[in-house]
Amino acid sequence: MNLTLKNLYDDFRDPKTIRALAELIHQESEGLERPVNIMEVCGGHTHTIMKYGLKQLLPEKIRFIHGPGCPVCIMPKERIDHAYILARQPDVILVTLGDMIKVPGSRGSLQQARSEGADVRFVYSPLDALKIARENPGKSVIFFAIGFETTTPMTAALIRRAEDLGVKNLLYHINHVTVPEVMRELIDSRDEHIDSYNNRIDAFIGPSHVSVIAGAKIYREFPERYGRPVVVSGFEPVDVMEGVLMLVRQFTQGRRELEIQYKRSVTMEGNLAAQRQIDEVFEKRGLFKWRGLGNIPHSALKLLEAYAHLDAEKVYAEILPVEEIEDHKLCICGDILRGMAEPTECQVFGTACTPSKPLGSCMVSSEGACAAYYKYGDLLK
């Protein structure tokens, strides 16, 4: 690994560039007839906006709505329970990524399972699960796979590799979700909840890492069918500011388009080889429940029938409950993930619910909206 990553961030946090972009956005927004509500779909963007204080640089006419874009935030309790139950089986090692181990299900978090003696490990890359499986031939290693389009190819690669090597003790619990379906849901659904919703989404900032794999093309329907422009942006402050500028320009010039800010590595088509790899092991699920958002059709993946014997959900079907579990009554994560409420509107924000004792997943994931508000505060607005 090459650690001269300096150029990877230096230019994109250049104070002069950020200030200049802020100035341009101010000038350009004077031509706006009404305020623009921009939803950043991904929690990574929420994090950038809060961490670098970008809201403070923007005119009042630009508003951010925080979206549902974090695979940790949107994981419903029943699936976390699956992880918890699997982890507590004898001779099972449960492997997952980062923040996931902190999210509470109805029985506890994986961190708790670990403190109770379960073998839970987090890895940086799904391929590390393969190593763990080979080092522990006497155990069943279950990879609890999470993430958007970004991490899916790595899980696919893991599955293929394990097959090639004849590794038999590695199973998968698949929770990969897809972005466009949930965006469509947010625009389309018109329950009584949404009508009371005064933050209409005017435009989207799409996460670049998703489109590096899936291409920018996955967002075509939003400008075309719904008249909502989308700009696919990177995660550095300069990227987000430039993305906002591009959106504002579309509005002042009367355009509704799909544009790519993050030309450094995003194309319309995306990474076709990775997409093929995904199709070789996964297919769409009929329904997947998103925490706070309910069941969304075709918004997640599952293993193809050919891999049923590796599917932990099937292999352990007898011990994995299927009933839905309600979220904490006071928690308004659902409204926050829909862009209907801000974290500070939650009654227990910062009191009964903090990052060290989270009630809801928006506070658990370090990129969840509640955690970002709690951590960085917001001094000027």
Partner: protein
Amino acid sequence: MKKCITLAQGNGGAENHALIKELFWRHLGNDILDRGEDAAVLKALERPAFTTDSFTVSPLFFPGGDIGKLSVCGTCNDLAMMGAQPRYLSLSVVIEEGFEVRSLEKIVRSLKKELALNDALVVSGDTKVVPRGSVDGLFITTSGIGELQGEGIGIKAIRPGDAIIVSRDIGRHGAAIFAAREGMELESALESDCASLWPQVAALLEAGIQPHALRDATRGGLAAVLNEWAEANALCIEIDEEEIPISDEVRGICELLGFEPAFLANEGTFVLALDPADVPLALEILEAFPGGEAAMRIGEVKGEYPGKVVLNSPWGTRRFLDWPTGELLPRIC
């Protein structure tokens, strides 16, 4: 002696005695320890300071140090941060059965070297051997007594207008441990900052500088120290992000894993609150020590948001720098 530590060597009998004599006393011996009494009899110190700390680290040997060096630095630094010169240490070692004697000897040598830098002695010790699996290799506990040299150093002495300095670049220990633990192949030579701080503190005091507070930024990093200070005094500490010294290597690791350098542990980096008039001389003194070229004035103590740490970005925005929470976990994607 056998190549690996056996349970018998912790039994209190002949094997145990041999281990202590041949390994610990041989390297760490001094007039007080050599007496082999149940308790060390010390000369009374005029204004003693006392502290204790336990050390567990994985891996035991990491770039820039090992658990032995760490266990001396940690305790001596706690004393130094009160303006106390480290004098006497106790050393308690819990060893996992099967631990290699060669590694143990390496650790003891490194203890010895670090003690010399502090001009301190181990005057009392204990060794236990526990069955395989009860500890991860080896745990060390050290306690230390030092003699106060500075006047009025402590959290409560911090006041509005104080300048905040860090003694060198931050985050090295945490980043080096992460890199070593995860087996990242680093092209760069990132090393822990693990070091004894008494020499720096002594130099500051000798030059007539009277810091209001000193704190080594260990677990929880710079963020934890600043938040602790702000909270304890209901004052606001305001920091300029641009001024915080961070090496390219540490920044690189943080980029990769999604960490904030200010949350990463240090083992030889400290934070000072002092009169702004003392800043130039303090920086000049710190710069003479290894790593000290990066010493910086990073901010000051104000009153605007009591109990909070505010971070000013180079592009004119502001936010809180919060306490680090929980286990540091890498981001998902």
